[in-house]
Symmetry: C2
Subunit: 185 residues, 2 copies
């Protein structure tokens, strides 16, 4: 089963959200990195060839514009692309292959010392905490202002907050347990 790539649909989805403003490959990459980077990523090596292919397939349309002097190729959704996006949206989302190195190392914990694991846990804890707080701040800000966040996007932010809160709590407990183990040793 040829695990079909989501890349084209991410592109279609972003062009769909943008709507009014056609985006270049560079723009699309910027949007991905600045908005969905915590649950999705794409590289230029994926984006540019895919844009070419999708243009050939009439899913999107390419136009060359001069945005304040600088020349670039921008893309807009075509009817076929909108249909394709729609169909993909309705398909049950796949559960990606889980690969968590932190949990893996914890699982093998008896092969190393508790201090090492504590270090790893605390590092990830900080990371998650920062991300969670960033999401929470973003949410709050968008509630006050008439920012352009759809209710759907707000839900994804809440997911991020919920997950990071749970992670931080679990990490704190685990660090405490590991420290006890060290003391009693």
């Amino acid at each position: 089963m040829a695990r079909t790539s989501s890349t084209p649909f991410v592109i279609l989805g972003i062009l769909g959200l943008s709507e009014a403003k056609p985006l270049s490959g560079y723009d699309i990459k910027q949007v991905i990195d600045s908005t969905i980077s915590h649950f999705w990523s794409e590289s230029y090596g994926q984006i540019y060839p895919m844009l070419k292919q999708m243009t050939g397939d009439k899913l999107i349309r390419a136009r060359t514009v001069k945005d304040s002097g600088r020349r670039k190729v921008v893309y807009t959704l075509m009817p076929k692309g909108r249909k394709s996006l729609s169909a993909w949206m309705e398909k049950a989302p796949e559960i990606g292959p889980a690969r968590d190195e932190l949990i893996l190392k914890l699982f093998f914990g008896s092969q190393t010392g508790a201090p090492v694991l504590i270090r790893h846990l605390e590092r990830h804890r900080e990371r998650f905490k920062a991300v969670g707080e960033q999401y929470a701040a973003w949410l709050k800000q968008s509630e006050g202002q008439s920012e352009k966040l759809t209710p759907y996007q707000q839900m994804t932010l809440r997911a991020g907050v919920a997950m990071s809160t749970a992670f931080v709590q679990w990490a704190d407990e685990s660090v405490a347990t590991l420290q006890e183990m060290e003391n009693e040793k």
Copy 2:
């Protein structure tokens, strides 16, 4: 930077946990699927060639045995392998590229109807709930019995429980919100 694979270390880690009992490639795959499958996976296509390579590198030793009539090749850790595992354990675990199709589709939610999203959410909710309960049961069972779960492994189970609980809660809230949106429409 050639994103070095974790596969050899997973193999070393499992052989390290087993210790007394040498394992075959088949055994290793069984262990992965039955214990760490929720946060790690490997395919035979990775395992068998890697075992060959690691044997050549003197990280592990291969021996052919006849386990009750059936012939198989089993592997044990060698000193070099133990050192290699140790070094890897101390390296800061990488945060894998996040790829969550469910959240992605939610983010693009305005491109489809709320009912579609509710379907997706509920499906994942069930999945997570089942996994969480399985982990909780496993934990409880191992606490009563003198099962061979290291405290580290218990922590990974608790991580699974915590994450799935948080997910289920968030999913319930999100479904409720979506249903309200549908009613008010």
